[in-house]
Amino acid sequence: MFAHRAKWIGLGFILPAFVLYTLFMIYPFIFAVYMSFFNWNLIAESTMNFVGLHHYKLMFEDPLFWRSLRNASWFIVGSFLVLMPISFALSLVVTSDLKFKRFFKTAFFMPVVLPLTAVGLMWTYILNPNFGAFNALLDTLGLGGLAHDWLGDPHVSVYITVLVNAWVYAGLNMVIFAAGLVSIPKDIYQAAEIDGANRANQILKITIPMMKETFKIFAILAITGSLRVFDIVYVMTGGGPNQMTEVPATLLFNATFKYNNFGLGNSIGTFILVVGLAFSLILNRFVKHDT
């Protein structure tokens, strides 16, 4: 389509986006990456000393950093084990012929509409060990023994945050999956039904393979999002207790904005990006897009 002279039109198409993006995002980020090799306490007037890989060394030697990576990987695991099945199931529901579809559509999407801070606060109350509804619910179901200090117990708090995160984003990913679902022509299903395939088979053999691209999109967004997760953790646990639930982004924030260590903050940022990039490239290799 864009061969030969049309090529220039094509480039013109991408130009505005390119300019904005480069100016406001790439240029600042390159600066940040550049600064990861310097020592700077974030005061405009003071000097910046080149320190090479010093911050990276510090970062890799800090057990807190590895803990934050472990926590971030729980978000990744949670995305595939919990978020993906639920979002996919939800998207099936809202694209099906079930009654009250519209109501469900809105209900499922509600968590995404709420500001993340509000969501974090709400769940913090629900999970409160002293008067939270969740423990109360367990009690009424006769499972009182399972009651826990969900956010205060360092062994469980990470998983809980991952689950809440899944709760928020289920609706969002449902919309992404739904967009993929509706692009599959209905005739294919009809043909399969005539051939005697039942619903489950249809989903397995038709839907999922045809949505490869959508799944790939989901995977990349989930992984990069997990690496960058910040708000939900910050609001619900603040990275605590005693820094047990820190994730790379909270460490970045503290280093840059509280401890005047701009270099360290940027090395974390660069690392997040590089890892995200690596994953995306790998995923792209695995899922080649075809017609």
Partner: protein, 394 residues
Amino acid sequence: MTRWADNTPGPVAFRERLKQFQKENPNIEVLDESITDESAYMSKFKTGIASASLPAITQTYFGKAGKIYADNGTFLDLTDVINNDKEWSDQLLPLFENWQYKDKKGIYGISAEFFAVGIFYNKEIFKQLQLQPPQTLEELLEQTPKLKAAGYIPLALGAKDTWRGGHFFNNLVMKQFGPQKIDDLASRKAHYDDPDMVSLFKLISDFNKAGVFGDNAVSVDMNQEKALFLSGRSAMHMDGSWFIGEASTSDIKDKIGFVPFPYFKDKPENKDYWMGGGGGGYSIYAKLNDKQKDAAIKLLKYLTSVDYFRIQEKVNKGGVYPVKMSPSPDVNNPISSEFVNAISSAKVYKNDVPSYDDLPQLIDRVRNSIQGLFIGNSPEKAGKEIADEIKKSN
């Protein structure tokens, strides 16, 4: 730019004052960029410094870690301003130590608040159980089983907000060792993992296990802590003068009393050492031109004059302020009077213990380790974590 951007009486009066200044000084434009949320504030502050575009007056409360701003000429040295205008500066209480740094001459900020931390208590609960509010920490521990049996939390502490544990710790240090210890820790002569410091961590841990702070304190934040006290479920609440306003408009305002933070039975000589002092203050950006500087200084004086604090006193129904003024007779608030009475015997005030150290991350480190005590970490571990952080930075 301050952190007073919300709608409680104090900040509202603050904004009124700015408007007043604007009216009286039509040729000076005042833009209030205050933001209350701490993380948003820090982002704004840091990006402002990094891009050399800080507001003219900033609220600073960084303790000794603020020295790098003095070293780099970010903030103005106000010594001359103070000396040149005795009429104004004589009214100020001598609370400059937050903005004075060793090896660096000058005073880089003026205190905007004066605070003291003690214990607010629910008179009715104590009367009901025929107890007096504890004078010593040992008494507090003794009273705990009785209070718990009656269904009350002795002293709810919102350990989720790390600064709650931090403040409790500060008070312990003052009552156990007095102010000298703080200087020793800052000069690194004393260490956080010394046995005497570890004993304080142990006290916090033991108190938590005994239920002094309530169940699962680590999941309770300051708002919940206050709610527990104001709804009558917690018998006591550790807080500072900032709480007087809120206490005076709460449902239980007629039941609230105030006593000093308990002292150690065997250290009565330390009982007049309090946690308190100058809280946040104003610093002036040094990169202003002369006209802007004069305007900023004028505004600064306007915000730290006795007139202004009289206004604050009225809207907060009392409280204490960083200027020489005795409580106004118009303010008839028993809570405030009790507060003022209690602090009249205070001899020395000190701020956050780790804030006297040069290391900016020490405050968080100490607070985080103390929070660790609430999830079962050993006192030794807490001390070691902090000591290691200090060693790492050397």
